[in-house]
């Protein structure tokens, strides 16, 4: 009996101790997901503001006599005169491995109907990017599984590589294939028991997309068994602009958790054009002055502070970012594209013309670069693919000329022929990333002229058959290429034997 009384006494003591201070205000006006509040004299920039009914908002405009808050969530029940209060907290989201395999909204709440997420930690959504001293240069590869990219525009862990192109040129497909490839590599690596193996976890942030597209992406990841290594942050087009504005930062916080805890992560922002539009909408409603294309003056900072959070950290892990930008009629000189091009470490430029000609993935080799990735490329790929980019760029130039003149000299003809073979070789269907060791074998055979005698239309099929042959019959050799990551004399002689053997079985 006495213990019960003690408990009650303790409870009373606890209650008496607590004088709570809060800073309050009232809603003066509310429109388009933005609430203008009187009071809130202590609100800080980016602080969470609590509205009635547990709805949260963020203080974005601290004016002399009012505070502009974007509301995250249902505004329909809020009205003029409602009391609001500061929370003293910055917006945070759950982070950690518990989120893998899940679809969450901007605040990290599950939206996939698979039950609550048991997150142990929270990270603030807005975070200062790592400084110069703690950063390490990019030197470890991140394989996309797309041959044209891994061989010519290689990406390293901690890099920020932009995927840019018009609508329907395969931007999302490249991003999703890259995630699928990480899952494939993770499976093989984790099964091998190699202590030094570093898996890559992926975060896919969908901003302003149609729900049907998001569902399709989730379906593709699930079908490929990649969902268990992936977190999906969804802020679809129907979501309010505040959620769309914040979703990339939420995703970045989830990625930072992996980086801070010594792991590697990959984050896709699909896409930042729609993100900028959501931010423009908020800024216009907040009556901030607008500039070029009606974007507010700090739209550069919007993306720079986001992308700077991708890094490789000394003694920790890395966060690689693949932002996506959608252009209109291939115009890369519009405001948002030029901004993001200048922030990233290179871009993969996709062209509608190529896509329509059937060159898919429609990577424009001439306009695509990776400024830091070659330091991360493995030796094997360098050995077989080192000159390809130059050759292909030259081929495009020659091909443009060849349209005008009919009589070409033998050397030009040979160059054109070789170029079109390379183009054929690089064609790759969606959802089918190729492991790096198979890429090396494919390109090695190219370099040694194994496809030269074939009619052009058969080159790609030959490469597919070669890879099948290697997978079913030369698994040890593939493993050797993968683990050594370079082609030494021994491997090359084995490659020769294997390719000769394949050639005798392959009839075009």
């Amino acid at each position: 009996m006495s213990t019960v009384l003690e408990q009650i006494e303790q409870q009373i003591a606890r209650l008496q101790a607590g004088t709570v201070k809060k800073n309050v205000g009232t809603i003066r006006a509310i429109a388009d997901g933005v609430a203008l509040c009187d009071g809130l004299s202590e609100a800080k920039y980016n602080e969470m503001i609590e509205f009635p009914g547990g709805v949260m908002g963020i203080a974005l405009n601290l004016a002399e006599d009012d505070v502009g808050c974007v509301v995250l969530g249902d505004v329909s029940k809020l009205k003029q005169g409602d009391e609001v209060k500061t929370t003293g907290r910055l917006l945070s989201v759950p982070v950690g491995k518990a989120l893998l395999g899940r679809v969450v909204d901007t605040l990290g709440n599950p939206v996939d109907g698979k039950g609550p997420i048991d997150a142990k930690e929270y990270y603030p959504v807005e975070r200062i990017a790592p400084g110069i001293i703690v950063r390490k240069s990019v030197s470890q590869p991140l394989f996309t599984g797309i041959m044209a990219i891994d061989s010519m525009i290689p990406i390293g862990r901690g890099q920020r590589e932009l995927i840019i192109g018009d609508r329907g040129t395969g931007k999302t497909t490249i991003a999703v294939d890259t995630i699928i490839n990480q899952a494939k590599i993770n499976r093989v690596g984790l099964a091998s028991g190699d202590k030094n193996f570093r898996p890559v976890y992926s975060i896919y942030v969908a901003v302003g997309q149609k729900n049907s597209n998001i569902v399709r992406t989730i379906g593709a990841l699930e079908a490929a068994g990649a969902l268990e290594f992936t977190i999906i942050v969804a802020a679809p087009a129907a979501d309010n602009p505040a959620n769309q504005y914040l979703a990339p930062y939420s995703g970045a916080a989830m990625g930072e958790w992996f980086m801070e805890n010594g792991m590697d992560a990959l984050i896709i922002y699909d896409d930042l054009s729609k993100h900028a539009v959501a931010y423009r909408q908020i800024s216009l409603v907040l009556k901030r002055p607008s500039g070029r294309e009606a974007y507010p003056g700090d739209v550069f900072y919007l993306h720079s502070r986001l992308l700077e959070r991708a890094a490789r950290l000394e003694g920790k892990g890395s966060l690689t970012a693949l932002p996506i930008i959608e252009t209109l009629a291939g115009d890369v000189s519009a405001y948002i594209p030029t901004n993001v091009i200048s922030i990233t470490d290179g871009q993969i430029f996709l062209e509608t013309d190529l896509f329509n000609q059937g060159v898919r993935p429609a990577v424009s080799v001439g306009l695509s670069v990776s400024r830091v990735g070659s330091a991360a490329q493995i030796k094997a790929t360098k050995q077989v693919g080192g000159k390809l980019k130059g050759e292909l760029a030259q081929f495009r130039e020659l091909a443009a000329f060849a349209q005008f003149g009919s009589d070409l000299d033998a050397k030009t003809k040979a160059q054109l022929d070789r170029g079109s073979r390379i183009v054929e070789l690089f064609k790759q269907p969606a959802g089918n990333p190729i492991p790096i060791e198979q890429q090396a074998a494919t390109l090695w055979a190219m370099q040694k002229g194994y496809y030269d005698a074939l009619p052009l239309g058969k080159v790609n099929a030959a490469a597919v058959s070669l890879r099948e042959f290697f997978v079913t019959r030369k698994d040890a050799l593939l493993t050797a290429i993968r683990t050594k990551a370079a082609l030494d004399a021994d491997i090359e002689s084995q490659l020769k034997t294997a390719c000769d053997e394949w050639k005798s079985t392959f009839n075009a």
């Binding site: 709570v20 201070k21 800073n23 009071g39």
Partner: protein
């Protein structure tokens, strides 16, 4: 400048005129109102609404509104007000308001700040988080 911003700016200027040594002076408020009546600035009603908000906020800042339940001695009100005056560095007017629905305890409001230690607020805090 947009008209809304112009009204806000004018309201701020008028508000500055209502203060005498940093404190709201009723005769000055009356003078300002007379001026508005006479000169009819653009959007006079918007200006007055903005002015009202500023004055309201100023009044709230200069008062310690003490809501209480149960028997509270005047000495407590005086002490609370004195403490808060020191804290904010300006003299506050003590405005006690009886509020039986608080059950027991005090809720003090100065400007946008609320200090609360009442049974209702603690009961609310006890509610299991949904």
């Amino acid at each position: 400048m947009s008209s809304a911003r112009k009204s806000a700016e004018l309201a701020r200027q008028l508000f500055a005129l209502t203060l005498d040594q940093g404190r709201l002076a009723p005769e000055r408020v009356a003078a300002v109102l007379q001026w508005v009546e006479k000169h009819r600035p653009d959007n006079a009603s918007a200006v007055l609404r903005a002015l009202k908000r500023l004055v309201e906020a100023e009044v709230a800042r200069s008062q310690a509104v003490i809501e209480y339940a149960g028997e509270v001695s005047p000495a407590v009100f005086a002490e609370v007000t004195a403490t808060l005056s020191r804290h904010y560095g300006r003299p506050l007017e003590s405005v006690p308001v009886a509020r039986p629905e608080l059950i027991a305890g005090l809720r003090v409001r100065v400007g946008c700040d609320i200090y609360e230690n009442t049974v209702v607020s603690q009961l609310a805090a006890l509610k299991p988080v949904s």
